[in-house]
Symmetry: C2
Subunit: 119 residues, 2 copies
């Protein structure tokens, strides 16, 4: 409503809110194709999974998963697209870059003590 800063403050808080639930965070991680600690990240393709696929990994009622997917979708974090009987979910890449922006607001990169040297 008021100014730009307030807008983005609320907007950013909203993004974080959508990821502040363990189940939603897990879904988003799965869709990001990532990345156990230490494991090489291979997200060179857009991942998408149907709802039932996600359902199998989450040990919650499918109605509950559906609710969480709606939250992620409303926050603009994921896209959902029907293909036949199934609905496929994928990360919205725009949202990913917004997430990086919030973090820059909060955890500046120039905190790094040393600069890496390329050869």
């Amino acid at each position: 409503m008021s100014n730009y800063e307030t807008m983005s403050l609320e907007h950013y808080a909203n993004l974080l809110r959508a990821l502040s639930n363990p189940h939603r965070l897990q879904v988003f991680q799965l869709l990001s194709g990532c990345c156990e600690a230490g494991t090489p990240c291979r997200s060179d393709q857009v991942l998408s999974r149907c709802v039932g696929d996600l359902d199998q990994q989450l040990e919650i009622a499918s109605s509950t998963l559906s609710h969480h997917l709606r939250e992620l979708h409303h926050a603009g974090l994921i896209d959902m697209q029907r293909r036949g009987k199934q609905i496929f979910c994928s990360v919205n890449p725009d949202a990913q870059s917004q997430l990086r922006q919030v973090l820059d607001t909060i955890s500046p990169l120039n905190t790094r003590p040393e600069v890496t040297h390329d050869r």
Copy 2:
């Protein structure tokens, strides 16, 4: 409780939860000394502010601010230290790096902006 992944999943979700409220996010930003978009970031020093100082910027009852500060503190995101009548808050740098870790889990750096047209 269960395994490592679940633990950190919950832990990360907790960090995000603590920042998912606009007022708490704003406080954390103020303490990070950051960084309007486009402005060069000058957080080469640890910022700390007393509670009353923060109170002036937030248009909420001081009891409400106190509640939010407790949340941030319990999540391990900020440190609080009494100095005379006042209590000074500062960002916990360890938490900042944990935040960066969550983000790497969610928004991998090796995401290619352009599609590779390989054969």
